[in-house]
């Protein structure tokens, strides 16, 4: 165990002794703050056109309509709950979070995770491939440590790095929000076993960030695998980022075919289950998690075999 910790410290050191890492983190923080600033600026532009009661009652009738047209239980329940919450707001005079409020901003800020994923993918692509590019792979592997263990240390370090970036993104969003945004009116409500209760913004935002982090782990592992397999930093970064932005489009392209159920990007966005309808029919959270785990297992298996079995001839 202590050997593993030493190896992880090494990998961590190699990431943080590079200036480029700090540039990435600075850009990430900059982007998060910019998001907060733009949110505050655009909320000042919007003048409230309609009292909230009117908005909510409009929404309520939409929900009720959709509930009537629902095709399955999940969808029906969703609209039923939403309509009930809307009714509850009107009856008890509880306004929803305003667009201009800190609560709504913090929930929306989860899209910042995209930057964190991008930067983690860069690190994950390079953590093995760079050793080959630098030629240091030789001095790294001729040690009384099994090659597989070196790879695991690298993988764990990559995950720790992605967690660090996710935390920076979240804390940055909170700080940026406190600096740039007014607290604003409104309360989040949610349905817990037929009871409508108040939902804390912290729990709700952590839930969104947590689901986004699952996607981050998958993309990181994918980049890690490509980097290990191809031993090329550029290829791994390029392919991962390309898939990051196009992977989900393909779900819609392939939605007629059955194999789309087993396609990675059908499942990477778990927040689809917070919506009335998931991306395609016939999938459930449990199914998605199972598919993701299988992909993860395959990614790591391929990385492991490639790293431990192949000759090092650079």
């Amino acid at each position: 165990m202590s050997e593993m910790i030493r190896l992880i410290r090494n990998e961590w050191m190699k990431i943080f002794k590079r200036n480029s890492t700090f540039i990435l983190i600075a850009i990430l923080i900059g982007a998060v703050f910019l998001f907060a600033f733009v949110s505050s600026w655009s909320s000042n532009q919007q003048s409230q056109t309609m009292p909230w009661e009117e908005q909510v009652s409009q929404q309520m009738s939409v929900y009720e309509q959709q509930e009537a047209q629902s095709e399955n239980m999940h969808e029906k329940n969703y609209y039923q709950d939403q309509a009930a919450i809307a009714r509850h707001r009107l009856e008890n005079d509880i306004p929803p979070p305003q667009h201009t409020s800190f609560i709504q901003y913090l929930l929306d800020s989860k899209s910042n995770i995209t930057f964190a994923v991008l930067f983690t993918v860069i690190i994950a692509s390079g953590i093995v491939a760079s050793e080959f590019a630098w030629g240091t792979i030789k001095l790294l592997t001729i040690r009384p440590v099994r090659r597989g263990k070196i790879l695991w240390a690298k993988y764990i370090t990559t995950l720790l790095f992605s967690l660090t970036l996710a935390i920076i993104t979240y804390l940055g969003a909170i700080i940026g929000g406190l600096v740039f945004l007014e607290k604003g009116d409104g309360v989040l409500l949610t349905m817990v076993e037929d009871h409508i209760v108040e939902q804390s913004v912290w729990i709700e935002s952590l839930r969104l960030y947590g689901l986004a982090f699952v996607n981050m782990i998958i993309m990181t592992s994918f980049a890690f695998m490509i980097g290990t397999l191809s031993r090329s930093n550029a290829l791994a970064i390029g392919l991962s980022i390309f898939l990051m932005f196009t992977g989900q489009q393909l779900v819609f392209l392939f939605q007629e075919y059955t194999f789309v159920k087993f396609y990675l990007f059908t499942h990477t966005d778990l927040s689809q289950y917070l919506q009335p309808k998931p991306m395609i029919e016939g999938i459930s959270p449990l199914f998605s998690v199972t598919v993701l785990m299988l992909y993860l297992f395959v990614f790591l298996l391929i990385s492991h075999l490639s790293f431990t079995k192949r000759d090092i001839a650079t």
Binding site: M13, G135, I142, R143, P144, V145, R146
Partner: protein
């Protein structure tokens, strides 16, 4: 040599893409010995070294280090090995010291004191906290040596280690290798292109050509060939030449510049000397002429060029 070899290469063969790069190579390396590994470009020196440290797998054959099979007991055997394979590539964005800390963590229990000691041994004290980026090639070689000896290995492999060292550095390096071989009983394996250097540094030389080991010899000169060439500087070359012809018949004798080159058995050189003096020829010098390794090497490899 009655000691156990530290390293045994048993019939190792490496094929890459159907091409045989190393062909049935066997070699034993002993403690306290510095063995040179000599061969023209592309002969397979680096490939052999890669197999000795497990970077490449052997296609067939066995690498044994310190009594363990490298294949089956990788950690135990590699723990006794320190190596530089080709260039000593380091993490350029870290200091020399941080690089050593990094490799120390991979080796296991290596104290800060040991790192300091090694830094001093390789003469990098004043620059060890600079980034490797700013190092000269020679300084990188020194750092490469430092990481290789950090864990006091029984077996040290150095692929072209003097590349980039200045003459003083090479001399220092040579003396250091001799010292760890004699004092600590380390077995050292050095590949190099520089024949003269290998000659100065090594006890034994293994010569490889096109993936085959074609000769293992001691630097002290080949004892198989009892006849040696002696250079005589004498007062009268022509007369001396005639005397040798008359007295020794079929012996090889030649006039080279102002000297006479005669191929003789050792005991005969005294006899020749006596006859010259008795015949009134003054003898100023008798030099046993050792064929340079280069001459031998070129002879052996059929004149193939070594850089």
């Amino acid at each position: 040599m009655n000691e156990q070899p530290v390293v045994q290469l048993k019939n190792i063969t490496k094929k890459i893409g159907g091409k045989t790069i190393i062909d049935d190579l066997s070699l034993d390396l002993y403690p306290g010995q510095v063995t040179g590994f000599l061969g023209p470009n592309g002969a397979g020196k680096t490939t052999t070294i890669r197999m000795m440290v497990g970077l490449m797998k052997v296609t067939s054959g066995e690498v044994m280090i310190d009594g363990y099979k490298l294949k089956d007991n990788y950690r135990k055997s590699i723990a006794q090995v320190g190596a530089i394979v080709e260039n000593p590539e380091m993490y350029k964005f870290m200091s020399g010291y941080q690089n050593l800390v990094h490799f120390a963590r991979l080796q296991g229990n290596i104290s800060k004191e040991r790192i300091k000691e090694v830094v001093k041994q390789v003469g990098l004290e004043s620059r060890i906290h600079d980034k490797v980026q700013a190092y000269s090639l020679g300084m990188r070689q020194r750092l490469g040596l430092a990481q290789a000896i950090l864990h006091k290995p029984k077996f040290l492999i150095l692929d072209e280690p003097t590349n980039g060292l200045d003459p003083a550095g090479i001399r220092e390096f040579r003396m250091y290798l001799r010292k760890i071989a004699t004092e600590d009983g380390v077995s050292v394996f050095v590949s190099s292109h520089l024949l003269s250097e290998i000659e100065l540094m090594c006890d034994r030389i293994a010569i490889i050509q096109q993936g085959k080991l074609i000769s293992i010899r001691s630097v002290q000169g080949s004892d198989q060939d009892k006849r040696k060439t002696f250079l005589f500087k004498v007062s009268d070359k022509e007369k001396a030449w005639q005397i040798v012809r008359d007295n020794f018949g079929d012996i090889e004798v030649e006039v080279v510049n102002d000297r006479l080159m005669i191929k003789l058995e050792k005991e005969q050189s005294a006899k020749v000397n006596r006859i010259f003096i008795e015949s009134g020829i003054d003898v100023y010098e008798i030099i046993p002429h050792k064929k340079t390794l280069e001459e031998e090497f070129l002879e052996m490899t059929g004149g193939e060029q070594i850089v």
